[in-house]
Amino acid sequence: MHYLPNDPVAEEMLGKMGLSSMEDLFTDIPEDMRVKRLDLPPGISEVELVRTVDKMMKESRGAGDMPMFLGCGFYDHFIPSAVEYVMSRSELYTSYTPYQPEMSQGILQALFEYQSMMSDILKMDVVNTSMYDYHTAIGEAILMAKRMNHRNVFLLPEIMAREKFQVVENYIRGAGIETRTVPFKDGTMDLDALKGMLTGEVSGVYIENPNILGLFDKGAMEIRSIMESRQVLVVGVNPMTLSIAKPPGDYGADIVVGDVQPLGVPISYGGPTAGIFAVSMKNVRKMPGRIIGATKDAEGRRAFAMTLSTREQHIRRERATSNICTNEALTSIMASAYLASLGKGGFRELGLQLASRGRYLAGRIDELEGFRAPAFAGHFFNEFPVSVDVSVSGLLKECRNRGVLAGYDLSRETDLLEGTFTVATTEMHTNADYEKLLEVLVKSREVLL
């Protein structure tokens, strides 16, 4: 009971209140509704907990235990110790939403800095302090598009993670929005097909850049020019790629979404991460989520505060732009500490290294008999599609039995990508990891021939 300081003084407190027992505080709960005891395992000490967790973790393996080339939006990058340390400052992580700005300037400034750095990376004016993740940010973007133009049809890429379709469907159905999928051609969205689909009832289009194959969209630079100005272009990004690639603000995005995970956030079996959500200044009042603004205090000093709260649920209730309250603020701050740690030069250098490693590894795999990498022509960053002349699921299983998680089978996401898997690499991989992967790919294919 070492978290409960009043456990030994409860009697004394009850006495001061003129009560004789703890039960006196619970007489308002009808007797027939009382639970006798909770059927849970008995409490354990801290030592026993540590022992239990050690055992549990031994039943699991991570990227530190075997070479791993999984990606699909989650990348095992190195996290500098200084970034981890900053995140351990408990004045920051044990606080909540800064409703009292005077005693919360630290978290407010850190979030303002996140908004600023992300704004520069995306070339978008306004970034909120976070959505839950990439998936939910897409859903919120489609809802916001409807608030902007009151139209009910939204176009999605035909190849996208299955889970994203499922989350989006749940987010938009209540608003009566219908989705249609735009076919892909040669690995990215088919612009000619899209042109034919951009009718007057269409609210907007979502593209991923890079997409599920890891490929940059070939039509991204043109897409805004074939849309009406009222139609909303939503672009999903891996922010790490924007170290070298053109930001969506430069090719006409109205809303940008994505996930901060690649920016120094552990993959941690799927979360927490933070969803990126960015818009231009003219649409800020239709935006969901929390926004921090700069202002002044009563003495004229620079200060920060939450702003535009009148869009939010605690003020606007059923007319709010979203129901979001608790978000992923701390993860956003982790991403900005990471970006500041890399800095202007380091971010660029890492981006070039990642894209170079991607090219190198794709080239090496492409040299192997029976493999093609990239499986579709196009530009990519640290992840690329591979095709092979044997069963992909069989191949990946054989690789796994040889101690390598070689990639991700895209047929699990869509039938359209049967026979294709993605391989992702990061700066965590050594040359030995690459050689091991290549060796295992060859051996595994041989077994299946």
């Binding site: 709960i29 639970v35 699991s60 606080s95 909540y96 409703y99 005693m103 520069d120 059923e318």
Partner: protein, 493 residues
Amino acid sequence: MSSDFRQARYSEPLLIEKGKPGRVGTSLPPWDEIRDITELLPDDMIRDPVNLPEISEPELVRHYVKLSQMNYGTDSGIYPLGSCTMKYNPKINDKIASHPTLQRMHPLQPEDTVQGVLRMMYELQESLAEIGGMDACTLQPAAGAAGEFTGLLIARKYHELRGDMTRDEVIVPDSAHGTNPASSVMAGFKVVEIRSAPDGTVDLEALGEALSERTAVFMITNPSTLGIFEKNIRGIQKACHEAGALLYYDGANLNALMGKARPGDMGFDIMHFNLHKTFSTPHGGGGPGAGPVAVTEKLAGLLPVPVVVKDGNLFRLDYDRPDSIGKVKGFFGNTGVLIRAWAFIRMMGGTGLTRVSELAVLNASYIRKRIEDVYPVPFRTRDELTKHEFVASASFLKENGGSAKDVSKMLVDRGLHPPTNYFPLIVDEALMIEPTESETMEELDRFSDALLDIATATAEQFSSAPRNSSVARVDEVLAAKKLILNWNQLKEE
């Protein structure tokens, strides 16, 4: 009225205002074959380097240390923000959540490589179902509001599967959290708000009038946001179920009831848990949190995919659930948060969790007893009991030129985090106070003494607070009138 509290006050520059060209905060591993950018991207897709800060590691660390010193968390002191359950966050939980194996575990790894973490998730599902008196649980929603949204999607699908297509309304009390109506609208429902009875409980008559064949769900939190236990819960449950509606439990206030009463036993069909509240995971300055949802047997098949199931000695992710609502978030939920809540439950056990709720209620009642002669508690039931939180009013201070906000700023000056202000909306100048079980009797006394002292302040004292925080009173009106939302806009000033 003096206090020796002084929060750090630095004119700490923004990151972009610090540093010198060429400085970096970390080092990269070598890679021999760096290619020229023109080989990597087509010309029209190349960008110039992003103008990020250029600072060294010591500058980075000192920057965030200074920011942290200008911030207040539950590790700094009492944080009685009503309905937010700002309890102490045990350090062991953070330690295990940063276990190197977990941190580098990919969500797409084969199940046989992640058995330990699946075991943890399975145990958490089971434990939460037991604490809530429910039959099945999903860990996927990332926050309380996401849990509400998930629960409402389940309710919508439940009615649809029964061919009951007319149910398009959700009823909420006027004291409800703002997320309840907002989540209802996102899930495609219309919101019907009902007034509270004079004692702050659900007005059964108003509920009866609102219920109809159009009602899909009645959402309440129990105890209510006023901290009052709904004694009529049986009547509420009967009325809702007879009308064909489902009953939703907003778990924001569960810290009052663990081991005392369970939503499932009260007749609720769906509930969410706020792991960042009741189960001690850090609030992170606004998040991340986690909002698992538990349901009764008849709704179990509708939970989002996947659910963690146990097959003999193996744990696996079950996607084969034809009636499932699908997904509400990527992957399986905020695993790093889930494991902290799991650790809290493991360490406390059933007896410990019961004691948590007892002491949370004792602490809140203790403050109430100490201040209620001065700060009236307008909604009161016959038994005069409130649970883990209560709502007092500062409206009597208007004649001295004071408000709930002013009281809060004067608390800031004493190094005490203020309560929630101006919520629930049905209490004038509301001060919603929830100390949690983590506070010592001494801290509760210090907080109560401060409130009593502040009640005698003058208009001048009210308006000039706070003085001891990092900044003086912040102009929030200016922040909304003249939007400055990033450092480029600030520079243009």
